[in-house]
Symmetry: C2
Subunit: 489 residues, 2 copies
């Protein structure tokens, strides 16, 4: 804790890396691009998982598990999908090692697989191959299944949480009898993601549709939620795909509909990943370290005793005990740190770094006065409060912090969202960062040229876009509404 | 539902396969040896996970996540470990596919990995490589970490849940400052597994130590829990390993102890897997299908209306509504199946097949009499009960069923555990099945010969073994106590 964190304003990227490291969230492993998620980081991910899983179940979904391995021939079946993922596939070619005769191991050339297996980069192919056996009649539909799994995409430039070769995610895969129902499912799940982002992660998001160039490989339509990070770059935080009948056709999944005719099933898939951990860190944290919304904080309240003698500590501990019980009874996760290996100042800084939303400091003078010092992580403010009734005060305070972190992020996004109408302005603003709302002529050519010249991509066509005639910021051609441009993670 | 299940007594193996299939638990996938765990099966696994995870956390453990990939050189570092796993490793050799020029995909020869990556068969090596960075001083110890993950062991003969190439499991990996503490941890976790098996799975287990030949590759001592299936074969249901300093030495993990001296850390690892699903099915189910202990049943109570007209159904539904609410308020998972696509007889058989512990049948005559038919899955008995107070009756009944299933399995094991003192008797009994308690001279040679001649292995040396001088059942040499022999899954 001796060295200060790099400042966001000076080196945002280094600031991010240091928070990940010093808050003990994750680290790079010996395998290129693969991370180790450490216990404190994983505890946050577990809270995310639990909340999302409850929301999936509340919307009628069940969990299942499908194999890690995708036969190469499966990937070939849906052309766009194959093209989209072929270049980043980890490929299993052998199933045995043997002694190399020099004390080491080598791949056994006699154990070559007849057909190579890909580590799933996503599971549409494996799952639709299974669905073929599950779906015969409209009575078998809908199938509303999700899986929590690890996936591998062999990325060349990796960054902890944001882009890793292996990552953890959930992938929902649903099958429906009608196009309309599948589209509704796609939109429902986008709504679930937006709800989770805003109400759990305290992260305001723009809901929208991807341009064709940014669509998921194999999708008819990709919906997404996009969030703005503090450095002015966008982060795609979740996607929900309407897959039409593409995978049903590739895997020959037909059902007898109510009119007794054979028809291909309609599909959706949707996912969020450990990337959300990156979004969480980058959206809220400050130059003192991690800032966590209370709903996702593994420790919501830490209590630190301030004392000189063991006798003082004993007295403080005695007063703390009922507070701990009361907080726990309110469902609040609390840690009383009476360890004697560090001074209270060191502890304060440590819990600040780890983003614990509320810190209570309790010294002998507090005991005498019947008070306690309450420190808020989000605002870094402190106040002295009566010990009496402190638990219910804190319960309310945690709600207030949750709301306040969201409001701050929302304000930041609003202040960094710009209507831009000229190309010069666009080039200037994109260097400064933020969401740029600009007209686009709707062509892939223009999108590509803008990307080449500015590194900005169309993040989405917002669902709530106002219909507004205008001229494309790049070509001057006609446009029916603004889309969101930004540089992105 | 037309065809009856095969009977256990006629074809146990086929009976098992059919239950897995018809109760909709899992199925084979297109990838050899890999299974798809279907929603109903996965819901049982989720209940197991939740219970175990709570127990791990209650004993001070935290979850984390480590990479799927093990560099080949890591596996080489611990000799016995390498030897134990090398022959069943799925090996990633390339990281990209490319077009084969004929519309398909091929492995890109230019994307060969410098060092091959193994899909983890277990994670000791990857984790101890990470621990090297986590452990400097005795203050960093103990590290009490668990991960829920998929692992791959390329088995030649596979069987759903019991032996699959990919399976799901948890693996705990702990590091300690002293040998004593590590041994205590190993034993504590064995106790957690035994507790889970007995109190959640209703599965009586023998706790014991493996013979050196059956030890985990790289362990100093392997503890296990062994259960007896209804066909008289044993099933290893969980293992807890004391790893000594083997992995610390292989990965050079030293710490400064309290005496300020450098020392290697002490290790344990412990795991249970989706194999437990196989144990659960085989221990309790009968010729009518799955029998689930209530604590692990996704649906604990199903209510089936028996009616002729929509008006009758409406009346029944009206009476059912408060029962459903009351059951839910007691934390009981209940399903009211008022679907009109099947007759009630079909539904009865279906829920029997799926092992729902309690079925309530409600017809018009019941309404008139203020009664309800209560059917127990475990005993297949029915009784008419007053509707009044039915929820609390069922709550007690579920506890009774949980206890009763355990008692039945315990009685079965007791009746199928035999003290055997002669080799002829041994050979005869092993054909009939069961746990054979016999003296063994303690040598690997004898163990191997017994295995060759009878396919029986030493399941464990029981922790609670009575010290009893005797003569080895095979060689007649001296022995200090009986060990458990059986044929095993």
């Amino acid at each position: 804790m001796s060295k200060a964190l790099p400042k966001r304003s000076e080196n945002y990227s280094e600031w991010y890396n240091e928070i990940v490291k010093r808050a003990d969230l994750a680290e790079n492993s010996a395998v290129r691009g693969c991370m180790v998620i450490k216990p404190y980081g994983f505890a946050i991910w577990e809270k995310m998982q639990r909340a999302l899983d409850d929301m999936f179940k509340a919307t009628g979904h069940q969990n299942a598990y499908f194999p890690l391995f995708v036969p190469k021939s499966f990937l070939e079946k849906e052309e766009e999908h194959a093209e989209g993922f072929a270049k980043e596939c980890a490929v299993v070619t052998h199933y045995r090692l043997k002694s190399d005769g020099e004390g080491g191991l080598m791949v056994d050339p006699n154990a070559k697989l007849e057909e190579e297996l890909i580590i799933r980069p996503t599971s549409e192919t494996v799952i639709w191959n299974a669905y073929k056996g599950w779906i015969q009649s409209w009575r078998d539909l809908p199938i509303l299944v999700n899986q929590w799994a690890n996936v591998v995409r062999w990325e060349m430039r990796t960054r902890i949480f944001l882009r890793t070769a292996e990552f953890l995610w959930q992938e929902g895969h649903t099958a429906h009898a009608t196009e309309q129902e599948a589209i509704e499912e796609t939109e429902t799940m986008l709504g679930v993601y937006a709800d989770f982002a805003e109400n759990w992660m305290a992260l305001p998001v723009v809901q929208g549709i991807k341009s064709p160039a940014e669509r998921f490989a194999g999708a008819v339509e990709t919906y997404c939620i996009e969030a703005l990070m503090q450095d002015g770059k966008a982060l795609q935080s979740g996607t929900s795909h309407f897959l039409g009948q593409n995978f049903a056709k590739s895997f020959d999944v037909k059902f007898v509909n109510k009119e007794n005719q054979l028809e291909y099933a309609w599909a959706t898939s949707w996912g969020v990943s450990t990337r959300l951990m990156g979004a969480l860190i980058m959206a809220h944290s400050d130059d003192n370290g991690l800032v966590l919304p209370p709903k996702l904080a593994p420790i919501q309240v830490v209590i630190v005793p301030i004392y000189k003698s063991p006798e003082d500590l004993a007295k403080i501990s005695e007063s703390v005990e009922p507070i701990v019980s009361e907080l726990k009874a309110l469902g609040i996760s609390v840690k009383y740190d009476d360890s004697d290996n560090q001074r209270s100042g060191w502890k304060f800084a440590e819990y600040e770094l780890r983003g614990v939303p509320v810190r209570l400091g309790l010294g002998m003078r507090d005991l005498e006065n019947g008070t306690v010092e309450v420190a808020r992580r989000d605002t870094l403010t402190k106040e002295s409060r009566p010990l009496d009734g402190i638990a219910s005060y804190i319960s309310g305070l945690l709600d207030e912090i949750q709301a306040s972190i969201y409001q701050r992020a929302l304000k930041f996004r609003e202040e960094n969202t710009f209507n831009v109408d000229t190309w010069d302005e666009f080039k200037e603003q994109i260097e400064k960062g933020g969401f740029i709302m600009a007209h686009w002529d709707g062509t892939a050519e223009t999108e590509e040229k803008i990307k080449e010249e500015t590194k900005a991509t169309i993040r989405c066509i917002p669902l709530n876009a106002i219909k507004e005639a205008g001229r494309c910021v790049y070509t001057g051609k006609e446009s029916q509404g603004r889309v969101v441009f930004a540089r992105a993670y």
